[in-house]
């Protein structure tokens, strides 16, 4: 039995925020969960899959976030409680359908969980999902600690059913991936049957067909939708998850939500300012309940708003304040706009300490200047920047090695348009700085398709795109369809490492097993590309010579879309992990080090962490703990010093 399904009410477990969200949904009797992997959200669907059989629920990794939202919506339309999960970037992908869904409304409780990544700790941007709540006019909830991550999630389903609309629950990395004590409530095993009712009149929320809008008739639904938002604001006035702690008339009122609530509490505690500062912690951050806000705004003249990343809360509060100014009188607001808090990146207790101590004129220094200086100096000598690099034995390092060298040799200034995934490192020295454009899932091929058509304007550089196997299904297929149909001359390299590697190796439509561990039909990428009309070749990226030859063949073809599939499992995949391919060694006699004219190719350029430079001896050496024995480096050493041996 998983600790997530402990049936003892009152049991206490150490749960990750993402697990707390799952437990909350289980206590609410969820039946369907769908999502697309993305850090920091991935553990939610994974946890559902682990308890799916026992709790009689269905979970899936969908092809992309828009499809996930559609799958989840179907469950709601059939009267079931359902959750859809994604990271912040995913909400952009899902947003087309989301706008329509917000207008059609939902039936069974439906919660959209978006996990934002302030500071972009594992993302290519720190996009804000909160703004979507306003954009599509649905309520927004944000849990302020781990217990609330569970309790608020449970409540979100009830709210969704009461309003008849999807509810956005926003988490952040420091909530999703942090862990804390959570006390359990009763666990229900839902028995609701799925049934889609469509025989009532059009727009009937209970039993009519579910449609978002009819051209020209949009008012028919937009007004009721806004009515739901007004109702949400009323419900939020008494929401038990909006809490205040502090003196009746604080000198400074902190208004905050989410993980920033924990940072604010910490700061006040460290500054011992509990008698002077109050915290209004909001769980319902859009729409804000006006009466509640007025009550607390009236307690203090100075107000600090603590949130990450954009001043979403700050601006809403100022709008409300403007409407109440005659009753409330003059106030001073602090936050991002005043410069007391940074307007990019994630916050932490120290940022809040700095803001509060400057507003209240408190002096605070945790250690002496000289200690801090010495500690910093030690780190600057010892702790070189680690930089990001491909794992030892990563097939992408081999792929980029070949692509990079082949493009140099070709001499026509060819370049690569990339996508996001582990292969973003293709933009960095660890990927030989091969990738020259990088945006969202599938964009590499879309952009390449556009570059390809610039031939008529004199562009004569070969155009290459790279994308991973999960990304291929997610968003690159339409881009390839475009390239083929428009006869855009590009070479698309599909780095097929058999899974969604970046986020922890989740299955996708090309996998032969789904998230529930059941057999699933695996879609054949090669056959799909051929069916689309592309010329396709397939190689093993660890075979440097064959890959190079295939790549040259394809980029030399002037016409049409070509696809090179480079297939080799991710070094972290279950099938390769902990199994060494070869026992590698370096012959010290043969290794010429600095003198070989190769500029220490293996360590300085190829840069696999499995090879280290022995400064004293002036030779390279294999780090047997780190090398996974893929054997690729043996083929790159011009002196032939690196040897592949059988594993004993």
């Amino acid at each position: 039995m998983s600790y997530l399904t402990d049936t003892r009410e009152g049991a206490v477990h150490l749960l990750m925020g993402n697990e707390a969200i799952v437990r909350g949904a289980l206590e609410a009797g969820i039946r369907v969960a769908a999502g697309y992997p993305g850090t920091p959200s991935s553990e939610i669907i994974e946890s559902f899959s682990k308890v799916a059989e026992q709790q009689d629920l269905y979970a899936e990794w969908s092809t992309n976030e828009k499809v996930a939202l559609e799958v989840s919506a179907a469950a709601s339309f059939a009267g079931l409680r359902t959750m859809c999960v994604m990271k912040q970037n995913g909400v952009n992908v899902a947003s087309d359908f989301l706008l329509h869904l917000a207008s059609s409304g939902t039936r069974g409780g439906m919660v959209l969980v978006a996990c934002d990544d302030p500071g972009a700790l594992s993302s290519v941007n720190e996009g804000e999902s909160r703004i979507f709540a306003r954009l599509v006019e649905i309520p927004l909830l944000e849990p302020g600690d781990f217990q609330e991550a569970k309790d608020l999630t449970r409540w979100a389903f009830e709210l969704s059913e009461e309003l008849g609309n999807v509810v956005l629950l926003r988490s952040v990395t420091r909530m999703s991936h942090a862990s804390g004590n959570v006390t359990y409530g009763p666990l229900v095993r839902a028995t609701t049957q799925a049934r889609f009712r469509y025989d009532g009149p059009l727009f009937d929320p209970e039993c009519g067909p579910v449609i978002s809008m009819i051209v020209g008739a949009s008012k028919l639904q937009h007004e009721p939708q806004q009515e739901k938002i007004r109702k949400a604001a009323l419900i939020f006035e008494d929401c038990p998850f909006n809490t205040y702690t502090g003196p009746e008339k604080p000198e400074l009122l902190v208004i905050t939500s989410s993980a920033c609530n924990l940072y604010s509490r910490e700061a006040i505690n460290i500054l011992q300012a509990g008698e002077r500062v109050g915290i209004l912690k909001l769980a319902t951050t859009w729409p804000l309940p006006p009466k509640l806000m007025q009550k607390y705004l009236s307690t203090a003249d100075r107000i600090l708003i603590v949130e990450e990343v954009l001043p979403v809360l700050e601006e809403q509060i100022k709008i409300l304040y403007a409407e109440m100014v005659s009753e409330l009188g003059a106030k001073t607001f602090f936050g991002k706009n005043s410069g007391h808090l940074p307007s990019t990146g994630e916050l932490n207790p120290d940022f809040v300490i700095t803001a509060i101590s400057s507003i209240l004129d408190i002096s605070y220094s945790p250690v002496s200047q000289s200690f801090a200086g010495q500690a910093r100096e030690l780190a600057s000598i010892s702790a070189a920047n680690r930089g990001l690099t491909f794992c030892p034995g990563c097939p992408h390092r081999a792929s980029f090695w070949t692509i990079h060298n082949a493009l140099e040799l070709d001499g026509r200034n060819g370049f690569v348009c990339g996508d996001i995934g582990c292969y973003v490192m293709g933009t960095l020295p660890s990927g030989f700085s091969t990738v020259k454009t990088l945006h969202s899932m599938g964009s590499g091929t879309g952009i390449a398709s556009g570059f390809g058509k610039l031939k008529q304007f004199g562009m004569d550089q070969p155009v290459i795109s790279v994308c991973g196997d999960s990304t291929f299904f997610h968003a690159a297929m339409p881009a390839l369809a475009n390239a083929v149909h428009q006869r855009s001359p590009l070479t698309m390299v599909i780095l097929d490492n058999s899974g969604t590697a970046m986020t922890g190796f989740q299955p996708h439509p090309g996998s032969s097993e789904n998230v529930l561990g059941e057999d699933a039909p695996a879609l054949d990428i090669e056959a799909i590309c051929r069916a689309m009309g592309a010329r396709v070749e397939i190689e093993d990226p660890f075979d440097l010579e064959a890959t190079r030859a295939a790549f040259h063949r394809l980029i030399e073809l002037e016409e049409g879309a070509k696809v090179l599939i480079l297939k080799q499992p991710c070094a972290l995949s279950p099938e390769r992990r902990y199994t060494k391919g070869f026992e590698m060694s370096i012959d010290e006699e043969v290794c010429l080090g600095e003198n070989c004219g190769c500029n220490r190719l293996c360590t300085r350029i190829f840069g696999c962490p499995g090879i280290i430079w022995d400064d004293k001896k002036g030779v390279s050496r294999i780090d047997e703990l780190i090398c996974v024995g893929c054997g690729v480096c043996a083929d790159i050493c011009p002196a032939g010093a690196i040897r592949k041996g059988e594993v004993s």
């Binding site: 594992s122 781990f146 862990s179 300085r604 962490p609 430079w613």
Partner: protein, 208 residues
């Protein structure tokens, strides 16, 4: 005094477990957290993962308290104990979270950053790191955890040896039995014994 009524010298008591992606840092912090929750403490753990798995620095922050959950990020200079699976990482974390009262436990086995492999930066001797840290911190213990773990048959057990070393310092209400229970939830039956052996070894090496 028995282990269970050993009280915390600070509330919250702040521990950082650090290392390089893939060293089993997250596992160590979760096991330690579970041991303390079982004893009735409030534990908050903050950790980052993601691209950090690809050779980057990783850090787990543990806050242990009798009364409540705390921020998943420890304030600057606010650590009470720093346990590092890699020597350079100990200094990186120390610069941000260390203070003259901190206890440092550190594995001696370096993992070279790509910048060092490429020859753009250098890596000092582990002895020098140890010397400098011992002048700045209240208590430093360096352990050849990776070598010891290899002797036990798997280098990944270095994280458990370091966990044992934390226990050996006697600053937390944890013990071997609690470890056995917590690890049993996470590893296969046949691996429990070797994990307990690694834990004992760490305890012994740090309490010497």
């Amino acid at each position: 005094m028995t282990v269970s009524d050993r009280s915390l010298s600070h509330d919250p008591y702040n521990i950082i477990i650090t290392g390089v992606g893939g060293q089993g840092n997250v596992m160590a912090s979760r096991v330690l957290g579970t041991m303390l929750v079982t004893k009735g403490y409030h534990v908050t753990i903050g950790e980052t993962f993601g691209p950090s798995q690809r050779g980057g620095s990783v850090m787990s922050h543990l806050r242990i308290s009798r009364t409540s959950s705390w921020s998943p990020q420890i304030p600057e200079y606010g650590a009470h104990l720093i346990a590092s699976l890699e020597p350079a990482e100990a200094t990186r974390v120390f610069a941000q979270y260390g203070n003259p009262d901190v206890i440092v436990i550190c594995n001696t086995r370096p993992i070279y950053p790509v910048t060092v492999i490429r020859g753009e930066a250098s890596y000092p001797s582990v002895d020098d790191i140890q010397k400098s840290l011992s002048t700045l911190a209240a208590d430093t213990t360096f352990i050849d955890a990776t070598d010891e773990a290899q002797k036990l048959g798997n280098s990944i057990l270095a994280n458990i040896i370091i966990l044992g070393a934390i226990c050996g310092k006697g600053v937390l209400p944890i013990d071997r039995e609690g470890f056995r229970r917590a690890i049993s939830e996470r590893v296969k039956e046949e691996q429990i014994a070797v994990n307990v052996r690694a834990f004992d070894l760490g305890t012994e090496l740090s309490s010497r």
